[in-house]
Symmetry: C2
Subunit: 324 residues, 2 copies
């Protein structure tokens, strides 16, 4: 096949306006650029993430999952800012124009996009090694964007959902339980939780590089430290089952250091904890209190019996080997 870039874009990505139908899109796909309107009482929130085959997803990942994940990781960044997703642009680089691949990729991407009423407004299809870049745009009431900085000593530390499923799926490869692989391939961005945290959380970050690494970034922003209650870290039933099958190893390391879960980690001042828990319990993923902000820099881990626990790794970094 020899579809031109224009035909490819038209066939797979330029859907009728009605598919999402945002009335703030003045001009969508098909010109040199897209034109949108931002209400005067909103700030614009921007993020961009690239997924490279073999680096950010296993080579055997389905095109549906790649399409989903490329958008999901960006919606997760918007969630960490408390922003409502609005529009996105997409750049796909692929070795050849493969109609089946593109159809499946678009299916995975648009299923998630439609769920959150976020509209594809432009982009680029080019030839080259497989990689996908998404830029997502969200809106937040002026001055209310959640940030990494803002945590204070004594604030509770929370995470949404459960941790370690995606990391276990990566580690186990084809042996992984379907529920674990689903978490790796089709992560759920915590958009609703992010919106609910506006005005309540003191600091928020999304967990893309592992809890220790990303909580570390949150702490760096204010030069504080943290105590994590290692036995309170939320694990899925599937991860617990994998742990039980593996001589009862609790997989603390995977829970603390594996990326790709795309949960939120956030801090809340003690007076707001009840309000946060009540709001988030009703939302997808819920939340768990996992520790407390302390003045001494660094992250310490404590078992239920008060004994301390030292992690082996501190999260994934793209130009290191994982144990930075």
């Amino acid at each position: 096949m020899a579809l031109s870039e224009f035909e490819l874009i038209r066939r797979y990505f330029d859907r009728p306006q009605a598919a999402v139908g945002r009335d703030d899109v003045v001009l969508g796909i098909g010109d040199d650029a897209a034109v949108v309107t931002v209400p005067g009482d909103r700030d614009l929130v921007l993020c961009m993430d690239t997924l490279v085959a073999g680096v950010h997803f296993p080579e055997n990942t389905s095109p549906e999952a790649i399409g989903h994940k490329a958008l999901a990781v960006n919606l997760s960044d918007l969630a960490a800012m408390g922003a409502e997703p609005a529009w996105f642009t997409l750049s796909v680089t692929l070795p050849q124009a493969d109609a089946d691949w593109l159809a499946a990729f678009a299916r995975g991407m648009f299923r998630l996009a439609d769920h959150y009423r976020v509209q594809l407004v432009g982009g680029d299809v080019t030839r080259g090694p497989l990689s996908v870049t998404v830029q997502a745009h969200g809106l937040v009431p002026r001055g209310e964007a959640l940030q990494r900085k803002g945590a204070a000593v004594g604030d509770c530390i929370y995470v949404t959902g459960t941790l370690g499923d995606a990391g276990m799926a990566l580690q186990q490869g084809l042996r992984a339980a379907p529920a674990l692989r689903q978490r790796l391939d089709f992560p759920s961005p915590r958009v609703e939780a992010g919106l609910a945290l506006r005005g309540l959380a003191s600091a928020v970050i999304d967990i893309s590089d592992g809890l220790l690494a990303d909580l570390g970034h949150l702490l760096e922003a204010t030069s504080l430290g943290a105590m994590l209650w290692i036995d309170s870290l939320p694990r899925s039933a599937s991860l617990a089952a994998a742990a039980a099958a593996n001589s009862g190893n609790p997989h603390y390391d995977i829970i603390l250091t594996s990326g790709d879960d795309y949960e939120l980690c956030f801090t809340v001042s003690p007076g707001q904890c009840a309000a946060v828990e009540s709001r988030l319990t009703a939302l997808p993923g819920g939340c768990s209190a996992v520790g407390v902000i302390e003045a001494a820099p660094g992250i310490r881990c404590q078992r239920q019996d008060g004994s301390s626990w030292v992690p082996a790794g501190s999260g994934y970094q793209h130009f290191r080997n994982g144990n930075g």
Copy 2:
């Protein structure tokens, strides 16, 4: 070397706010996303382009040129919308963390960014085959974005600058004159011309795939055709010299079908032509009248003596071989 993603971003891309110092940037590099403000009387213009090594630039291209070009091609898209550049995000995928490469890349990119007061607000550095994606954001008075559609029968067709230099540089490779290679490596986005065309041009597109291909897109938007005056197509002195050295071949094909010049092609109703020429003559690149919009679909080319001329190719398309 083993710089982490965070150290890389900090060292090369997170410059002091003062370097550009836009006061509409609420939160720049360093959080999950950037936060910016859009004035209530402006529309937001978005575009994204990816450059892949060996596809969009020769493998021997200098990192300065890659940094310049990745931003320039996006500023060219903004120019075609009449938008004023404001912010951009950047995703760089590179095989290894190479400090010299990144320093030179950043130098090339920021020289252009600073010239147009466009601020880098976020992005991503990942490991993988070399490619660069930039998303640029511009502002335009509400409802005034220039578009591809809008040309009418009898409108004059103009192009800015000169055509074919970049194509000739690509064709001649290492033998190309420095001035030609400069056009390929460091294209000048016609930002000033785009701003000057607001309210005057009936339709605008930037020339990234060759005049025939891009004028073709402009015509498709209104199902019209065009007559091009082949002898009026603007050529640089360097291209003319290359032509003279090559048995006097006028290189019409290169002028018409080679991409990478990043000039603007636009149409103007006859009553506005004098105003456009007067405005654009004072700006970098100037402009030349090269034809007229006609009712019959298709693009025809005419010599000065009234004889017709038929081009051999119709522009570069990423999934074809160039003669689609």
